[in-house]
Amino acid sequence: MTEKMTIAQALNLALDDAMAEDPKVVMLGEDLADNEEGGVMGVTKGLSTKYGKRVRSTPISEQAIMGAAIGASLVGYKPVAEIMLMNFTTVAMDMIVNHAAKLRFMSGGQTHVPIVIRTMTGAGFSVGGQHSDYLEAWFAHTAGIKVVAPANAAEAYGLLLSSIDDPDPVLFIENMPSYWTPGPAPTRGERIPLGKARIAREGKDLTIVSYSRMANEALAAAEALAEDGVDTEVIDLRTIAPWDQDTVIASVKKTGRLLTVHEATKPFGVGSEIAAVVNEALFGDLKAPVKRLGGAFCAVPFSKPLEDAFAPNAQGIAAEVRSMLSLDPVD
């Protein structure tokens, strides 16, 4: 694959293709029409010009945005709602958790909520404690909403199309600091199924399970470890909820060792759930205790050295792998 594209471009392309394919796909969110610059990061540029009233900028009213998306979805539309930053989902939690996630069940299957909530986040941008959090565990813990977090451009495209197709609500998490990182370009129209993980690198000594930007850090760690003869398998979960247990269990059965890595704080995180399921399935096959890496247990700090130390990185991941394999640390 020689063609490159940024995540921001891939998202724009996926939204464009979805809207062209299905007139029921509509979009709403703060600043996303061209009159307001096509999104604060320009991800939705051109779409309102092309699709007119199907793409609407809204006031700063996250509850109203989510409610409108839910309502329209109940009667046949497929809204893609943007909540600019993941921290602002907190303002719309009632709509997302009590309504979007539960209406199918509580209505006995009479109604359902086929919406996508696009939201961006991630430490590294010096924006501090209310603009950087990964909150996926809250949503993964809620029955009825799916959670997706792509790691690169091609993945973002294929996963967004599948999220829009999906008959249930999907929270789609975009890593903001890597929006402009060029990566493999997607194949037009090609979906990546939800609930299916990607083996980003095959290996036999240890399995790392990760997602979003951290999957790329894990890959970088694996490349560095390979130079020392350590063969790491890296699994990019892609869909956090429901996650691909089969692929992960098969991998850990092969390697006997599991390390989970995410940017969200470690306690009560997605890694804890994966560790528990793998322990239940493979207790006798494990060669080492399952380990978890995650962000520090604090608000994302502003000060640069603290922010740099907040999330796991390739170096820290490699060090953890070496320790799990009882290898001497490198410095």
Binding site: S126, A299, F302, L306
Partner: protein, 327 residues
């Protein structure tokens, strides 16, 4: 508004000093970020200097304010020392919040800056709580809740105004209507023409005032603050102003109405007040120049102090999460 209280010339000079501090501080922030000496998101308050200056001369250090990411004007007017502010902007351990909060989250209780929020609308519910505490303890403080025009469309605005009116809280809601919310114009986000008109729905007085007119803004602030202190309850002030810059540094605001923006910049409230104080004979040119020179020296010192200070050490990740340091 003919019955509004009017500031005397000494008060106007105090307001001018605050406004000039905000203006010069903003100029420095642009420079420091553009030259890469500090990496931070910076939301310029340029054009909105009159509002917090007129409010602050009616407050004491004891009174509380809550403000937002676009808040350096509110903080400086309230008296946050520039040294501590700059050290926080630079992420240094000597900053107001040890560098852990950063520009969007300045807290400085000593000068009454209780919360700075990065979440649109969230200053108002918390301001009510501060005001409630004053009501309970009878400490005679007033709380100012600052927010933008965009924030008036979030649920928290409506909930807070109702609660404040119902409980007669000593709080003043100050909507700094700078006509833009990021890239969205006021008209494209708000169904009513005036945010001030919404006060009627919550049974409180609403004042829409020229927030760039020092006298009118002073009068509106004084009426609302006096009312709160007299136990008569909250007021909503919609202070009409203009965002001279883009939403944040790096956004040139090319999408803004050029003519309207130029008109606002040409009517720079800081330059206007300076000229007026001189033409009224309140200040001489030399007096005004000295005010600016003193502020410049203070800012030089503040920025040098910030850049010379240490960053926090990594154990700060474990501190202040709870009262007890994490293991």
């Amino acid at each position: 508004m003919s019955n509004y209280p009017i500031p005397d010339s000494a008060t106007l000079v105090r307001m001018y000093e605050k406004m000039e501090l905000i203006r010069l501080n903003d100029e420095r922030a642009h420079k420091v970020v553009k030259t890469g000496r500090i990496v931070m998101p910076y939301y310029s308050p340029r054009g909105q200097e009159v509002i917090p200056s007129a409010i602050s001369v009616n407050l004491t250090e004891e009174d509380y304010i809550c403000t937002i990411y676009r808040g350096t004007h509110d903080m400086l007017a309230k008296g946050v020392p520039p040294k501590l502010l700059w050290a926080e902007l630079a992420g240094r351990v000597t900053g107001t919040c040890k560098g852990k909060g950063g520009p969007m989250h300045i807290t400085h209780p000593e000068t009454g800056v209780m919360v700075t929020t990065g979440v649109v609308g969230s200053s108002m519910p918390i301001a009510n709580g501060l005001a409630w505490a004053s009501q309970l303890s009878g400490d005679d403080r007033v709380t100012i809740a600052n927010f933008g025009d965009g924030a008036a469309n979030i649920g928290a605005f409506h909930e807070s105004l109702n609660l404040a009116a119902l409980w007669k809280l000593p709080v003043v809601f100050v909507c700094q209507n700078n006509r833009y919310a990021e890239h969205t114009t006021f008209a494209n986000s708000t169904a009513v023409d005036r945010i001030g008109d919404r006060a009627a729905s919550y049974a409180m007085p609403g004042i829409t005032v020229d927030g760039n007119d020092p006298e009118a803004m002073y009068g509106a602030a004084k009426i609302a603050i006096d009312r709160a202190k007299a136990g008569e309850g909250p007021t909503l002030i919609e202070a009409m102003t203009y965002r001279f810059n883009g939403h944040l540094l790096g956004d040139d605001g090319h999408y803004m109405d050029k003519e309207e923006r130029q008109k606002a910049i040409d009517a720079d409230p800081v330059a206007r007040l300076r000229a007026r104080l001189i033409s009224d004979g309140v200040l001489s040119e030399a007096d005004a120049d000295k005010i600016s020179a003193d502020i410049t020296a203070q800012l030089d010192e503040a920025i040098a102090f910030a850049l010379d200070s240490d960053f926090p050490t990594l154990d700060e990740l474990r501190r202040d999460v709870f009262a007890t340091e994490l293991a």
